[in-house]
Symmetry: C2
Subunit: 334 residues, 2 copies
DNA sequence: TTGTACGCGTTATCAC
DNA sequence: GTGATAACGCGTACAA
């Protein structure tokens, strides 16, 4: 049995002493500069390290290099399947680059986001990734700082230059509107996320613009700003369907909303799509299995992680952006 | 405009110089020892810090205190809703204690788990939380080390003492078997997770024991060890239903499996529960909305995070354990 | 109430 | 190919 139990972790000094070399050599071994170390020395050091149960301290390393290998991902709502998928794909991508991911949840709360940004900066992270960021002074300060920042799915406010990964939301909104028009529907509703999010704004803008250009009168389109949860969708669905003249087709800010509306419709005996057409957004993984009826805009959530990583690796002052493709998945709800 | 742009982050020294005090005083201000600082000095320091955009470096702090405020959560499969819920609830709970969560995914791969454990120890984390851990020598070494470890949903191998959060899986298996028997079903199948997981083993043991005690012959029970995914459930479902004498009731290792089986049954025109009864496990959040037909064992996934935190805070050498309650959610699939 | 001085573990630089 | 050494940012014991 090694004696590595019940003592504080071994350090480079311990390994150096044990293997009869200097700390510099030990460091060289563990930073991969093995070509500058004699093979025999290399083996001696490795052996001693194993013996002592030595694992290099990221803390010491980070202090010396003035940065950690941690990437902080801040999401608005981790219970949302889309956020979860982005987190999963990002964690996988980061691991290939030797980076760890800290996950934080704002709960869509601006103050909480700002606190999390403070905490994140305290970690001196390799980068901060913001999914669905909320525009606050603190956020702008972060974007101005030396900290690497990547915005996902929400563009930084004009004037803030920073890498971006997302889709063309306005085009997506237009595609849905066009689809509704092609089907011949006349009265519409859109239940969208907060206007503070450029993603929500973009979809709303594209949807409304396409309808307007096709001569749909503005009073035929109900707009509802909503949380993006199943509960909210259910609530709004009940309200919409109890109106004297309910909408014929509804475009949802995400699939969660769509699930809620569908339930509201089912409970009232409203046929989908016979009486009400529903279009979601995101195309969550479970759809194929549990909601094979849902027409929705498919976003390649699992491609977001690799895209973010490519931006992180793309040179120092990268201001690049990655626009990922979307597509309309046609099923039976429209 | 403050001049905090384009320079390296401010340190205690900068703040000390700017506010005309010593670094010790600055440190005292930011570690909450404000009662040992004159109110006027306090304000001066805070002002200077704001001016400089100073955020205390967790790195320096961690080095000094020989530990970070990071908790590493290692999960087998983040795409699983149960894992996701545990992660979410843990992140929330940890934040209240000023801790950050690093999330890693083993993909059910033992080697990868061991690598992640190495990485985790390098971070000198406050604690490592293992959900569905795989028993390896490396894991045992971790449990023996000074690193705080909490096992979730899987008991450490006998001889390894460590805090545990989970449910009574054997009792859960029995409850499902009893339910099947009460409904009068005769031929059974259980599609369970890897026997390497004590959680899977426990459910299997309880299920089989209860059936055996009730006089069900062993050859009336099909056992299938499987991945816990929708795809695997679908595959096994097709296979089971194509048999000459298919099972009448199937107990699934988790809800994902159940979704897959349900789809396989639907595609073949097999009625649920008329021809096949299905019982899941976990009761994912989406069930109420998208699978309101699924009878399943409800696990309070969102209570796991707080439970883990309570163990972390429960004294130094806590070897406590938290057994959370489960219940059978009866719906229409049985 | 405040300041001085040290050490935490690592790596880059320089000298040999 | 190897070693000695100086930082990196912070918290605290001790001194004033």
């Amino acid at each position: 049995m090694g004696g590595a139990v019940n003592r504080k972790p071994a350090t480079v000094f311990d390994v150096a002493r044990e293997s009869g070399v200097s700390t510099a050599t030990v460091s060289r071994v563990f930073t991969g500069k093995t070509d500058r170390v004699a093979p025999e020395t290399l083996e001696r050091v490795r052996h001693a390290a194993r013996q002592l149960g030595y694992t290099p301290s990221e803390i010491g390393r980070s202090l010396r290099l003035a940065t950690t290998r941690i990437v902080v991902l801040i999401v608005p709502d981790a219970t949302n399947d889309f956020c979860a998928d982005v987190a999963i794909s990002l964690e996988q991508a980061l691991k290939t680059a030797g980076l760890s991911m800290v996950l934080c949840n704002t709960g869509e709360d601006a103050d909480r986001q700002d606190e999390l940004i403070d905490d994140a900066e305290g970690l001196r992270p390799h980068a901060v990734i913001l999914l669905g960021a909320i525009d606050t002074p603190r956020l702008r300060a972060l974007a101005r700082s030396k900290t690497r920042v990547v915005f996902v799915n929400r563009r930084p406010s004009p004037g803030v230059k920073a890498p971006f990964v997302g889709i063309d939301n306005e085009a997506a909104g237009r595609v849905v509107a066009r689809h509704f028009l092609d089907r011949g529907y006349a009265r519409f509703a859109i239940i969208h996320g907060s206007r503070r999010y450029s993603a929500s704004r973009g979809r709303l803008t594209g949807f409304l613009a396409c309808l307007a250009e096709s001569g749909v009168p503005a009073d035929s389109v109900t707009q509802i700003e909503s949380e993006l949860t199943m509960e909210a969708g259910y609530r709004h669905g009940r309200e919409l369907l109890s109106r004297a003249s309910p909408p014929r087709a509804v475009f949802c800010g995400n699939d969660m909303i769509a699930y809620g509306i569908h339930r509201a419709a089912t409970e009232r005996g409203v046929g989908v799509p016979a009486d009400l057409a529903i279009c979601g957004f995101d195309d969550n993984r479970v759809n194929e299995w549990l909601a094979p009826w849902l027409t929705t805009v498919r976003i390649p959530a699992l491609d977001f992680g690799p895209a973010v990583l490519s931006l992180l690796q793309g040179g120092e002052a990268a201001e690049g952006e990655v626009i990922l493709p979307f597509s309309l998945t046609l099923r039976h709800s429209t």
